[in-house]
């Protein structure tokens, strides 16, 4: 009796191991398949013209040669730059506040909570806020609204990673700096932040990677465009939105260009991801006190 029960539970366990392994294999197979398909189509569609030409012809007619996405690549880079200009300082300063200024003050708890929660707000809702606050008053889609929406997504992520990284800086650093006569702001700017520079930058890059692939917050803010203008008050193109427009287009020639756009987008994200890994690896190699 005992041996029989033993064998049954062994069989169940073996089945569970097989199931667990099968689940992993299935996930890897499906996801790798999807990724491979996307990359394969992208590699087949990419060309030098993709980076050097803007869309050509009538958007509603079937273009034999739809042109490239130079405008969208530049647009995405410009939007990321503008979003970082606002989102990065705001995120880092909030992180500094949470780690260096707030003990258990009334502001710190709610801010921490809101930062965590904002990471889960559907990005399309952020786009709607950008529309109501920065598009309706101006009267049209513009680059500022798009960048602000992205900054809104970046800042909370950066704030929380910065806070966590600053907390890892030993208190002896702060005490030493203060004992030498430095003020609190000097201590933060010259000692604490530099000591946590690597990991903080990691948080910034993670936030960048997150917003670089966002489409939904740009739909009602930047609005998308078929050309890029230096006037930031005009509707502004982005890679994700151009890919969306072309991916849902009835014309195969435009869908082809969209695959190239997806490839460029993924290449951008992979670059950021690898940079993060390199950064983390270098930081660890320097054997920081953790």
């Amino acid at each position: 009796m005992a041996t029989q029960r033993l064998s049954i539970r062994r069989v169940i366990s073996a089945g569970a191991i097989a199931g667990s392994a099968a689940a992993s294999v299935a996930i890897v197979a499906v996801l790798a398949g999807v990724l491979w398909y996307i990359l394969w189509r992208g590699v087949g569609a990419i060309s030098w013209e993709f980076f050097t030409t803007d869309p050509t012809g009538d958007p509603t007619g079937d273009p034999a040669a739809p042109g490239g996405m130079r405008h969208a690549v530049l647009g995405t880079l410009a939007l990321l730059l503008m979003a970082s200009a606002v989102g990065v300082p705001m995120g880092i300063l909030t992180g500094v506040y949470l780690s260096e200024y707030a003990g258990e003050r009334w502001l710190a708890g709610p801010t921490r909570f809101v930062c965590d929660v904002l990471a889960g707000v559907p990005s399309i809702v952020v786009g709607i806020l950008g529309y109501e606050l920065l598009v309706v008053p101006v009267g049209g889609f513009n680059a500022y609204a798009g960048a602000a929406a992205l900054a809104f997504i970046m800042a909370p992520i950066i704030a929380r990673t910065t806070e966590e990284m600053l907390r890892l800086v030993p208190d002896s650093y702060r005490a030493g700096s203060l004992a030498l006569g430095a003020s609190k702001s000097q201590t933060i700017v010259r000692v604490v932040l530099p000591a946590a520079a690597g990991p903080t930058l990691t948080g910034v890059m993670l936030a960048l990677a997150r917003v670089a692939g966002e489409t939904a917050p740009l739909l009602f803010t930047a609005g998308g465009a078929r050309l890029i203008s230096a006037d930031l008050g005009q509707p502004f193109p982005s890679l994700t939105q151009q890919v969306f427009d072309y991916a849902t287009s009835p014309f195969p020639s435009q869908r082809e260009v969209a695959w190239a756009g997806v490839l460029v987008l993924i290449a951008l994200l992979l670059t950021i991801n690898l940079a993060v890994r390199l950064l983390l690896w270098r930081t660890r190699a320097r054997a920081k006190p953790r």
Binding site: R9, S13, I17, G19, S20, A22, A23, S24, I27, L31, V34, L35, Y37, I38, M90, L93, T94, V96, Y97, Y101, L107, D116, V117, L118, A119, G120, V121, P122, S123, I124, V125, I128, L129, Y131, L133, A155, P156, I157, A159, R160, S183, K184, S185, Q186, I188, R210, G213, T215, A216, F220, T240, V243, F244, A247, T248, L265, I266, L269, L270, N273
Partner: protein
Amino acid sequence: MPPSKARRSGGDRALGLLARGSAVTILGLLVALLATLVTAGAPAAARFGASFLTETEWRPNTLERPRLDARGEVVITGGEVEIEEVPPRFGALPAIWGTAVSSGIALLIAVPLSLGAALFVVRIAPRLRVAGPLSFMIEFLAAIPSIAYGFWGLAVLTPWLQTVAYPAMERLAGGTWVAGWVFRTRLADGTEIPVGLTGKDMLCGGLVLAIMVIPIVTAVARDVLRSVPRGQLEGTLALGATWWQSSWGMMRYARAGLFGAVMLGLARAAGETMAVTMVIGNNMQVAASPLAPAQTMASLLANEFKEASDQLHQSALLLVALILLVMSLALNVTARSLVVGGSSRTAAAH
């Protein structure tokens, strides 16, 4: 040295103000978000009340139709058919239904697979020395933009479902009650329509969402399982538990965190916009069959917000956005309170 002292305290004050100002700004943004949606959604809420959540008709335009009398016959006055105007109506139930069904399908597929894979990564992969690459792959896949998954769904999954899977299913089910339920569906107004014709439907949306939430659920579940104390695992093994029994013990021990991982997956699935918009068919209807085209709250916003010129239409859309926001906040708050410690960072990164 008063000047230097003054400069120092000036710098201190400036940095303190900047830091506090940033924190207040972030807080203010959430308040602004809620305030904007509440005030803008108020007209629709006042007009439709609770029926906004239960009505199935979403019609932004004014309808003109022949007036019918009590017996259901067309009213004719002076030789002319009398026309009545039906004002626009907004009921969000189709979008809520579409969100629930597509997210439900996604979780049904993603959760067992993700938990299995998380157990594999924590307990088996280290022995095979594949934990690192596997983890990297899962994390990288979580970073792929949703538009890429949506495009794949549109280009590969939709035609496959339409031309291969559904015909095969129909042949298998052929004439049984299953076929009657899956391939024909009755709408709220009583009409029966054939479904499963385009491949763009709730099932397709659910499948694409499953692929998108698997990485995040696996990553968080992995972190949660890793945080189970070694003593717990070794204790069960010392008592003679098999691999599965000790794994079951681990999962029971970490059940709150695992539930949190599932909630994060649900929040991601329910708030996902672009990929779903591309494959769900964008049709505001409540249908029982998962093969019917539908609309989620997020896809409804993506499709109609830009074109909504009418005040009431916009207000109704913003009310939908508010429902979506409150729902995601509730899911995230619950999930975050369940997933504690080290895994909260993994969650924040997605």
